[in-house]
Subunit: 163 residues, 2 copies
DNA sequence: AATTACACTTGCAAAAAACAAGAGGAATCA
DNA sequence: TGATTCCTCTTGTTTTTTGCAAGTGTAATT
């Protein structure tokens, strides 16, 4: 590792000119914050990766009550950033499906780590202890298990004959 | 694990009444989103955990250019949520220090996982490959290494004799 | 041909964020 | 002691984003 400031820290915060600020990345935290550092993106990630939701109306029906314009905005933003793959639903041509890309799937470890943290600190959590325990015990296996579910959902939609 | 919907997914999204919505947690993703699902909180976490920043003016001087009212708001929010411990600086009584709590430190795994993801997908990243490699190879050791740095920063401030 | 389902879009009021300037309190200095 | 400086916020004001309600366009259904 490399030294930074007074102590040894991640060294990738470069100085930047004022004009660069808006679009410059290079810092991994800022890159992530720019893409998922938003409550709604965060919850949509959960819906896609963990709850098997794929359509506009499924997202809309969530308990948080996202409004339609915000949902449309976030979906297009996530698509633009390469996290979602937008296609018409083969089961019904007037419907649209948003599939998770590999890039989104690769956020599973971070998402699950965040959930383990929540389970530890949220007194009102409804998640079972077994969830956190299994991820801590064997992260790779837990992730593989979630990925298999994601595959099952997507294949169910894409592999189905048109009605 | 338990079954959910059509497939096997995390089962902890309970139905909720309209009045509950604003403050209800129980879902780990929503809990995390409510606390760190914000660009500025995210970046402040980075400054405290990875860059050794502790004071208002240090946060203010970051390359992202946070405005003063937003900074004050986020600091008090993070303190209210038990992520930061606000104390006067023993080195100088007119200054305030914000120390990371255990609860904040426990976000390191999630934060680092997010950074590994960014390094993989951000073409402009300035983080060295060694960073991601070491975390993937041995997460626990990498986290311990960052924690030691955090200890060093805090002890340097708290243990220093008043000037 | 008319109706329904679905995925958005638009317009408007309300809330939040960005920006600029300044207040107040401790330490330092004349 | 009183003026000065440093530092942590406040307080307006402007700009942007959000939330809500209603409407539009396209594809299936009847």
């Amino acid at each position: 590792m490399l030294s930074f400031c007074k102590y040894i820290f991640a060294p990738y915060i470069a100085p930047m000119t004022k004009t660069d600020r808006a679009h410059w990345n290079g810092c991994p935290t800022r890159y992530a914050a720019g893409i998922v550092g938003d409550k709604w993106c965060f919850l949509l990630m959960r819906d896609v990766l963990l709850h098997g939701k794929r359509t506009y109306s499924e997202f809309l029906s969530g308990p948080e009550g996202i409004s339609t314009n915000i949902l449309a905005d976030r979906l297009s933003r996530l698509e633009r950033n390469g996290l979602l793959d937008r296609r018409t639903d083969p089961r019904k041509g007037s419907r649209v499906c948003y599939f998770p890309t590999r890039k989104l799937r690769d956020l599973l470890p971070a998402l699950l780590a965040m959930m383990v943290w929540s389970v530890k600190y949220d007194a009102d959590t409804e998640a079972p202890d077994s969830f956190a325990a299994s991820f801590v015990a064997d992260p790779a296996a837990t992730i593989a298990w979630y990925e298999a579910d994601i595959d099952r959902v997507d294949q169910d939609i894409l592999g189905a004959p048109a009605e």
